[in-house]
Protein backbone atom coordinates (compact mmCIF):
# COMPACT_ATOMS: atom_id res chain seq x y z
CA UNK A 1 0.00 0.00 0.00
CA UNK A 2 1.19 3.50 -0.81
CA UNK A 3 1.77 6.08 1.89
CA UNK A 4 0.37 9.56 1.59
CA UNK A 5 1.48 12.97 2.84
CA UNK A 6 -0.61 16.13 3.14
CA UNK A 7 0.29 18.60 0.41
CA UNK A 8 2.27 21.63 1.51
CA UNK A 9 -0.47 24.11 0.59
CA UNK A 10 -2.86 22.43 3.06
CA UNK A 11 -0.44 22.25 6.01
CA UNK A 12 -1.96 25.32 7.65
CA UNK A 13 -5.54 24.66 6.63
CA UNK A 14 -8.38 22.42 7.63
CA UNK A 15 -10.63 20.92 4.97
CA UNK A 16 -14.07 19.41 5.49
CA UNK A 17 -14.41 16.75 2.82
CA UNK A 18 -17.79 15.15 2.13
CA UNK A 19 -17.59 11.47 1.30
CA UNK A 20 -20.93 9.76 0.97
CA UNK A 21 -23.20 11.13 3.66
CA UNK A 22 -20.36 11.91 6.07
CA UNK A 23 -17.69 14.55 6.24
CA UNK A 24 -14.10 14.19 7.34
CA UNK A 25 -11.54 16.70 8.47
CA UNK A 26 -8.33 16.81 6.48
CA UNK A 27 -5.43 18.55 8.19
CA UNK A 28 -1.84 17.99 9.34
CA UNK A 29 -3.07 15.65 12.09
CA UNK A 30 -5.02 13.39 9.73
CA UNK A 31 -2.68 10.41 10.09
CA UNK A 32 -2.78 10.55 13.88
CA UNK A 33 -6.52 11.19 14.06
CA UNK A 34 -7.53 8.26 11.86
CA UNK A 35 -6.18 4.75 12.19
CA UNK A 36 -5.57 3.19 8.78
CA UNK A 37 -5.36 6.68 7.30
CA UNK A 38 -3.40 5.52 4.27
CA UNK A 39 -5.96 2.82 3.48
CA UNK A 40 -8.75 5.38 3.80
CA UNK A 41 -6.97 7.76 1.45
CA UNK A 42 -6.28 5.01 -1.06
CA UNK A 43 -9.93 3.93 -1.01
CA UNK A 44 -11.07 7.50 -1.71
CA UNK A 45 -8.12 8.60 -3.79
CA UNK A 46 -10.29 10.08 -6.55
CA UNK A 47 -11.55 12.66 -4.03
CA UNK A 48 -8.50 12.98 -1.79
CA UNK A 49 -5.69 13.11 -4.36
CA UNK A 50 -6.23 16.89 -4.38
CA UNK A 51 -4.98 17.03 -0.78
CA UNK A 52 -2.34 14.29 -0.51
CA UNK A 53 0.87 13.39 -2.33
CA UNK A 54 1.95 9.79 -2.71
CA UNK A 55 5.14 9.06 -0.79
CA UNK A 56 7.21 6.70 -2.91
CA UNK A 57 9.17 4.07 -0.94
CA UNK A 58 12.94 4.14 -1.40
CA UNK A 59 14.09 1.57 -3.92
CA UNK A 60 16.12 -1.47 -2.83
CA UNK A 61 18.85 -0.57 -5.32
CA UNK A 62 19.45 2.73 -3.57
CA UNK A 63 19.55 1.01 -0.18
CA UNK A 64 22.04 -1.58 -1.42
CA UNK A 65 24.29 1.07 -2.90
CA UNK A 66 24.65 2.64 0.52
CA UNK A 67 25.56 -0.69 2.16
CA UNK A 68 29.01 -1.54 0.88
Amino acid sequence: MDSYRLKKEYQNKKVAVAIGDRSFGIDKDFHTTYTNANAFIEKNINILSKYFDVVKPQTDAKNKSTKK
Binding site: N12, K13, K14, V15, A16, S23, G25, I47
Partner: protein
Protein backbone atom coordinates in the same frame (compact mmCIF):
# COMPACT_ATOMS: atom_id res chain seq x y z
CA UNK B 1 -10.45 36.19 24.94
CA UNK B 2 -9.58 39.09 22.70
CA UNK B 3 -11.43 41.95 21.17
CA UNK B 4 -10.75 44.68 18.68
CA UNK B 5 -12.41 47.85 17.57
CA UNK B 6 -12.10 47.20 13.86
CA UNK B 7 -15.89 47.09 13.57
CA UNK B 8 -16.33 50.68 14.76
CA UNK B 9 -17.46 53.15 12.08
CA UNK B 10 -18.14 50.45 9.50
CA UNK B 11 -21.34 50.65 7.47
CA UNK B 12 -24.11 48.27 8.50
CA UNK B 13 -26.47 46.23 6.40
CA UNK B 14 -26.60 43.55 3.76
CA UNK B 15 -25.80 44.11 0.09
CA UNK B 16 -28.52 43.71 -2.51
CA UNK B 17 -26.89 40.63 -4.07
CA UNK B 18 -26.63 37.42 -2.06
CA UNK B 19 -25.55 33.90 -2.96
CA UNK B 20 -27.18 30.61 -2.04
CA UNK B 21 -26.16 26.98 -2.36
CA UNK B 22 -26.91 23.54 -0.98
CA UNK B 23 -24.62 21.91 1.58
CA UNK B 24 -25.36 18.61 -0.17
CA UNK B 25 -23.77 19.96 -3.36
CA UNK B 26 -20.42 20.62 -1.63
CA UNK B 27 -17.64 18.07 -1.76
CA UNK B 28 -15.31 20.09 0.43
CA UNK B 29 -14.92 23.30 2.39
CA UNK B 30 -11.43 24.60 3.19
CA UNK B 31 -10.80 26.64 6.32
CA UNK B 32 -7.72 28.84 6.73
CA UNK B 33 -5.74 28.61 9.95
CA UNK B 34 -7.67 31.61 11.31
CA UNK B 35 -10.95 29.72 10.84
CA UNK B 36 -12.26 31.70 7.88
CA UNK B 37 -13.61 29.90 4.82
CA UNK B 38 -10.92 29.96 2.15
CA UNK B 39 -12.38 27.72 -0.57
CA UNK B 40 -15.42 25.72 -1.61
CA UNK B 41 -15.52 22.71 -3.91
CA UNK B 42 -18.77 21.75 -5.59
CA UNK B 43 -19.74 18.36 -6.98
CA UNK B 44 -19.73 18.09 -10.77
CA UNK B 45 -22.58 20.10 -12.27
CA UNK B 46 -23.38 21.92 -9.02
CA UNK B 47 -23.00 25.64 -8.34
CA UNK B 48 -23.96 28.70 -6.31
CA UNK B 49 -26.99 30.77 -7.29
CA UNK B 50 -27.04 34.56 -7.12
CA UNK B 51 -30.15 36.48 -6.09
CA UNK B 52 -30.06 40.18 -6.85
CA UNK B 53 -32.63 42.26 -5.00
CA UNK B 54 -32.61 45.84 -3.83
CA UNK B 55 -30.53 47.66 -1.28
CA UNK B 56 -31.82 47.80 2.29
CA UNK B 57 -34.16 44.84 1.74
CA UNK B 58 -32.23 41.66 2.54
CA UNK B 59 -31.52 40.95 6.19
CA UNK B 60 -29.68 38.32 8.19
CA UNK B 61 -29.36 37.61 11.88
CA UNK B 62 -28.14 35.03 14.35
CA UNK B 63 -30.20 35.17 17.55
CA UNK B 64 -28.86 33.03 20.37
CA UNK B 65 -30.69 30.54 22.51
CA UNK B 66 -28.54 30.32 25.61
CA UNK B 67 -27.52 26.99 27.03
CA UNK B 68 -30.19 26.86 29.74
CA UNK B 69 -30.93 23.28 30.75
CA UNK B 70 -29.21 21.94 27.67
CA UNK B 71 -25.55 21.59 26.82
CA UNK B 72 -24.86 24.14 24.14
CA UNK B 73 -25.65 27.66 23.01
CA UNK B 74 -27.65 27.62 19.79
CA UNK B 75 -27.11 30.27 17.15
CA UNK B 76 -30.11 30.44 14.86
CA UNK B 77 -28.67 31.43 11.51
CA UNK B 78 -31.49 33.35 9.87
CA UNK B 79 -31.47 34.82 6.39
CA UNK B 80 -34.43 36.84 5.15
CA UNK B 81 -33.93 37.73 1.51
CA UNK B 82 -36.48 39.64 -0.51
CA UNK B 83 -36.59 37.83 -3.84
CA UNK B 84 -37.81 39.98 -6.70
CA UNK B 85 -39.22 38.08 -9.66
CA UNK B 86 -40.94 38.71 -12.95
CA UNK B 87 -40.17 35.78 -15.25
CA UNK B 88 -41.20 32.16 -14.87
CA UNK B 89 -37.51 31.24 -14.58
CA UNK B 90 -37.17 33.56 -11.59
CA UNK B 91 -40.25 32.02 -9.96
CA UNK B 92 -38.81 28.56 -10.57
CA UNK B 93 -35.49 29.61 -9.01
CA UNK B 94 -37.36 30.67 -5.87
CA UNK B 95 -39.04 27.26 -5.70
CA UNK B 96 -35.65 25.57 -6.10
CA UNK B 97 -34.30 27.58 -3.16
CA UNK B 98 -37.28 26.68 -0.99
CA UNK B 99 -36.89 22.98 -1.85
CA UNK B 100 -33.47 22.90 -0.15
CA UNK B 101 -33.39 21.45 3.34
CA UNK B 102 -29.69 22.26 3.88
CA UNK B 103 -29.13 25.62 2.29
CA UNK B 104 -26.21 27.91 2.98
CA UNK B 105 -25.86 31.58 2.11
CA UNK B 106 -22.85 33.73 1.33
CA UNK B 107 -23.82 37.28 2.17
CA UNK B 108 -21.70 40.31 1.33
CA UNK B 109 -22.17 43.19 3.76
CA UNK B 110 -21.88 46.91 3.15
CA UNK B 111 -19.00 46.90 5.62
CA UNK B 112 -16.93 44.83 3.18
CA UNK B 113 -17.21 41.72 5.30
CA UNK B 114 -18.66 38.58 3.72
CA UNK B 115 -20.40 36.06 5.96
CA UNK B 116 -21.42 32.45 5.42
CA UNK B 117 -24.63 31.32 7.10
CA UNK B 118 -25.56 27.65 7.39
CA UNK B 119 -22.11 26.05 7.05
CA UNK B 120 -20.72 24.11 10.01
CA UNK B 121 -17.21 25.03 11.02
CA UNK B 122 -16.76 21.59 12.56
CA UNK B 123 -15.22 19.62 9.71
CA UNK B 124 -16.80 16.38 10.89
CA UNK B 125 -20.34 17.76 10.77
CA UNK B 126 -20.40 19.61 7.46
CA UNK B 127 -23.37 17.58 6.24
CA UNK B 128 -25.34 17.72 9.47
CA UNK B 129 -26.30 21.40 9.32
CA UNK B 130 -27.92 23.90 7.00
CA UNK B 131 -30.82 26.28 6.67
CA UNK B 132 -34.30 25.55 5.46
CA UNK B 133 -37.43 27.52 4.71
CA UNK B 134 -39.42 28.40 7.80
CA UNK B 135 -41.89 30.90 6.37
CA UNK B 136 -42.56 33.18 3.45
CA UNK B 137 -45.16 35.18 1.59
CA UNK B 138 -45.71 36.77 -1.78
CA UNK B 139 -48.67 38.99 -1.11
CA UNK B 140 -50.06 41.11 -3.89
CA UNK B 141 -51.66 44.26 -2.57
CA UNK B 142 -53.64 47.09 -4.07
CA UNK B 143 -51.09 49.90 -4.00
CA UNK B 144 -49.09 50.92 -7.04
CA UNK B 145 -45.98 50.90 -4.88
CA UNK B 146 -46.49 47.33 -3.65
CA UNK B 147 -43.40 45.27 -4.33
CA UNK B 148 -43.39 42.29 -6.66
CA UNK B 149 -41.29 40.10 -4.46
CA UNK B 150 -41.23 36.95 -2.40
CA UNK B 151 -40.33 37.36 1.21
CA UNK B 152 -39.02 34.40 3.14
CA UNK B 153 -37.14 33.28 6.19
CA UNK B 154 -34.48 30.62 5.87
CA UNK B 155 -33.28 29.44 9.27
CA UNK B 156 -31.32 26.70 10.98
CA UNK B 157 -29.91 26.00 14.42
CA UNK B 158 -26.13 26.10 14.44
CA UNK B 159 -23.47 25.76 17.14
CA UNK B 160 -21.54 28.91 16.25
CA UNK B 161 -21.85 32.31 14.64
CA UNK B 162 -21.73 32.81 10.90
CA UNK B 163 -18.25 32.29 9.44
CA UNK B 164 -16.23 34.90 7.57
CA UNK B 165 -15.57 34.11 3.91
CA UNK B 166 -12.09 35.26 2.92
CA UNK B 167 -10.91 33.30 -0.09
CA UNK B 168 -9.49 36.30 -1.91
CA UNK B 169 -8.40 38.35 1.14
CA UNK B 170 -9.74 41.61 -0.33
CA UNK B 171 -13.42 42.36 -0.96
CA UNK B 172 -13.16 42.58 -4.77
CA UNK B 173 -11.13 39.36 -4.92
CA UNK B 174 -13.59 37.61 -2.62
CA UNK B 175 -16.52 38.62 -4.84
CA UNK B 176 -14.61 37.44 -7.92
CA UNK B 177 -13.97 34.10 -6.22
CA UNK B 178 -17.63 33.73 -5.25
CA UNK B 179 -18.83 34.62 -8.75
CA UNK B 180 -16.65 31.82 -10.14
CA UNK B 181 -18.86 29.39 -8.22
CA UNK B 182 -21.87 30.55 -10.27
CA UNK B 183 -20.59 28.34 -13.08
CA UNK B 184 -21.42 24.63 -12.69
CA UNK B 185 -18.41 22.68 -11.45
CA UNK B 186 -16.71 20.38 -13.94
Amino acid sequence: MAGACAAVKKAGGVNKAIYAGSVKDLTSVTFADDGTVSALTFAVGKQLVKYVGRSAKNTASEPITAEGEGNVNEYVHTVQPVLYHFTQAERDAIEDLFALDQAFFIIPMRSGQILVYGLSKNVATLQDFGLKLSEGDDAVGIELNDMNAQTCTMAGNMLHKAIIYNEGVTYPNNITAIEAYLTPAT
